[in-house]
């Protein structure tokens, strides 16, 4: 319990990134951060929100330390005490978790006053999670300015900027396939992986990241996301549990939602046909294997509703258009957590993939971007990010630190992650190389198959 006595308010109190939901970050001696979830009852309209929150934050931190409620006028003292107690309990749990680690060095913010980093990502709830977990602490810690931009993926814009010699994006969140390609085609800066901070438990970065995810020399992975399938537990009394159920119209009749792309679908089809995750790409590399995958798809073709945008599948489920649908796990989680939809994810046969940071070749603020990259891929930042959306951190040392859902303190994030042990049983990593080699052919075949 060495953390308990060390629990103090940080020096730079004014810069604490409190957020609207009433989350209370606090530091303890080792310089590590933990999150204490704290619900604020009411805000007087017109009052400076930040000041109010800082006050409440300070009060509750004190309360935590002394074990008594130091109540703001607007807070019921008893309630504040209860909440403070709950917060302390939670802090203890987090500290216990971190106690099991060896307590190595973590990322130290350099002073970057006057610098600026343009961070480009996919927008929506995903960017929000990054802003909360990466941008805000980074701004507070370094004094740098962070500009957040959205894009829709693909390398077209990066290519245009690099070729024009006017690179305005400093760090970009890309898919694995684009990361590899950007690297191959000289669109991204190479990154010295040894400069990445050690894990919170002292593990060197090279060993801390999930095996094989640091292979692209220009890109550092941040999250694991996954294509899974989900169903609405209120609309059906049948409970699918395996990927085979998705392709079984006899036992599980009803429409299916699938992404209009061969990617992930062919893999899932083979896994449903009994191919083990380890052999999927070997089988798919043969013509017979491709035929076999399409034969599985043929079984449900007439009942498939095809989607293209990630926002569609939760909508399809909610509208009752489909019985079950493939989806990105974060989207389903978001519908469950933020909109209270009764959706269930089936993790069996999930196909997981990575999102990574790349720094475009010739980025204007390369050094600051590199600092941002280092901080945002540190153990704590990755863990923080995972409390906002259910995409798993790529560092193994982050997993024990993953807290609960930011706006619902009673919703544990750990089990929502693709990488959680109970979800990871039959999981397949999307093979970028296979798709780079075969996507032209398989796309044509898939579309021809669709049209016939």
């Amino acid at each position: 319990m060495r953390g308990r006595t060390g629990l103090t308010l940080p020096e730079r109190r004014g810069a604490i990134p409190f957020n609207v939901q009433g989350e209370l970050p606090a530091w303890y001696d080792g310089g590590k951060r933990i999150f204490l979830h704290f619900k604020i009852e009411k805000e007087k309209p017109g009052e400076d929100l930040m000041t109010l929150k800082t006050l409440i934050g300070a009060a509750s931190a004190l309360a935590m330390m002394t074990g008594t409620a130091f109540a703001d006028a607007k807070m019921d003292a008893k309630k504040a005490l209860e909440q403070a107690k709950a917060a302390v309990e939670q802090a203890m749990a987090a500290l216990e978790a971190s106690d099991t680690m060896s307590g190595g060095a973590s990322y130290e913010f350099p002073n970057l006053d006057g610098d600026q980093v343009t961070v480009v990502s996919w927008g929506g709830a995903y960017t929000k999670s990054q802003v909360e977990a990466y941008h805000k602490p980074f701004i507070a810690g370094t004094g740098a300015k962070v500009v957040s931009e959205d894009y829709n993926g693909g390398l077209a814009e990066i290519k245009a900027q690099v070729e024009a010699g006017n690179v305005t994006w400093d760090i970009v969140d890309v898919e694995l396939s684009d990361a590899v390609r950007a690297c191959d085609e000289g669109l991204a800066e190479e990154i010295d992986m040894s400069s990445l901070p050690d894990g919170a438990d002292g593990t060197p970065a090279a060993d801390d990241f999930i095996a094989g995810t640091l292979d692209v020399p220009c890109a550092v992975p941040t999250i694991v996301w996954s294509t899974i399938f989900a169903y609405d537990s209120e609309k059906t009394d049948r409970t699918p549990t395996t990927i085979a159920n998705f392709f079984d119209l006899e036992k599980f009749p009803g429409k299916r939602g699938m992404r209009k792309s061969p990617k992930a679908n062919l893999e899932m089809a083979l896994m449903a046909d009994g191919v083990g995750a380890g052999e999927v790409y070997d089988v798919l590399s043969t013509d017979e294997g491709v035929d076999r995958a399409f034969a599985m798809l043929d079984k449900i073709k007439d009942d498939v509703v095809w989607w293209e945008a990630g926002a569609q599948p939760p909508q399809l489920l909610a509208d009752g258009e489909v019985e079950m649908t493939t989806a990105y796990n974060g989207r389903i989680f978001n519908a469950v957590a933020a909109e209270d939809k009764p959706f269930e994810i089936v993790w069996d046969g999930q196909v997981w993939d990575l999102d990574l940071w790349i720094i475009p070749k010739g980025a204007k603020n390369k050094d600051a971007a590199m600092e941002f990259l280092k901080y945002s891929t540190s153990t704590q930042a990755l863990a923080d990010q995972a409390s906002w959306i259910s995409y798993g951190p790529t560092r193994q040392s982050s997993a024990p630190l993953v807290a609960n859902y930011a706006t619902k303190p009673d919703l544990k994030m750990g089990p929502q992650m693709p990488t959680a042990p109970q979800n990871f049983g039959n999981a397949l990593q999307n093979d970028f190389e296979f798709w780079a080699d075969n996507q032209d052919e398989l796309n044509e075949r898939f579309n021809a198959w669709l049209a016939n």
């Binding site: 390398l155 095809w306 780079a436 075969n438 032209d440 044509e444 669709l450 049209a451």
Partner: protein
Amino acid sequence: MTDATANQGPDGLLLATDGTPLKAKLRQSMKASRRRAFGLVLPLLLFVLASFVIPIIMLLWTGVSNDTYAANMPRSAPLMRAWDGSSQPTEAMAEAMVLDMIDARKAKTIGKVASRVNREQSGTRSLYTKSARRAAKMEPPFLDALVKADKDWADIETWRATKIAATSLTPAYYAAALDYKYTADGEFVEQDEVRQIHVQLFWKTIWVSGAVMLFCLLLGYPVAYLLSHLPAKKANLLMILVLLPFWTSLLVRTTAWIAMLQSQGVLNDIFVWLGITGDEQRFSLIYNMTGTLIAMTHILLPFMILPIYSVMRAIPPSHVRAAKSLGATNWTAFWRVYFPATIPGIGAGGLLVFILSIGYYITPALVGGQDGQLISNFIAYHMQRSLNWSLAAALGGILLAIVLVLYWLYDRIVGIDNMKLG
């Protein structure tokens, strides 16, 4: 006429008062004004040239030319082109290949080269990138070294694919756009049946565009008629309703369609309530061809209504009155007098809707389900995702040719002067 004869030159030409031939004088006096007129249109001409003509020429050019390989593998490319495509690959070819790979890896262009060859044969992308990684350490004989690095180099098909990629000017993309394969022997063979997709999509695109045009006409004509016959105040209100889809973002519109059309949607609820269909047999109005047609008709309707409306507005009401006073029934007056006068608007609207719908792809993709895939989706896919711009250009070139043929047909049947946009 005495003056005229007096001013006649020896060769019978009319002369101006100063003795020069009148025609020459006229030309001279016209020159200045012609030059000024040209100066006035010059900026537009340059703009059209830069923004329209040159891009189209470049598009057509991209469709037959791709020098990715030749530019980045300068030693290997000429040897590959010279190779007959059937004999054993030579050591010289292998050496050039390895040396080029070392350079290309340094220059970070090996990825582009690999993608280019991969288009000719799936699987060669990783073969190239892997081999390039090891190329620096290879020692002669290079052919053996390559095969040792990956046994696929022993497969002559790898080299044949490379030979096709090494040729910069090639009909391969147009062939691919028409579901044919251009082989290393310079022959065209039909694409595997399971991969034939483009021709079918071209037909489907034309079919969908035609159907959308027809629906727009059937729905838009009466609306345009109503609009042109209402008092200005009411007409303006109705016009706003007509133009509403223009002012709504694609996402809002799509969401609205989904809410309306899905099986638990408003329309189906109404059908069930009216007893047109049972609760269990709701109509599939979205994520299929019906959805595509409904959504595209909705968004393109204004393009049909506006030209027809403006033509109708210009038709004097006295024409129909004249027809009636001459003994024509309402229908005859409409069909023989009013309708022919609206044909220019129908022609303009029809052509506009048709050409626009040929290029539509996001909307059908969102609401069309598996039927929503049109040829433009493929062009966009190759432009944005696979970065296979040459194939995109070839598909675009064919689409352009189809539009031109239709335009020509339209000119033959209706007459291009007979088109009015307003």
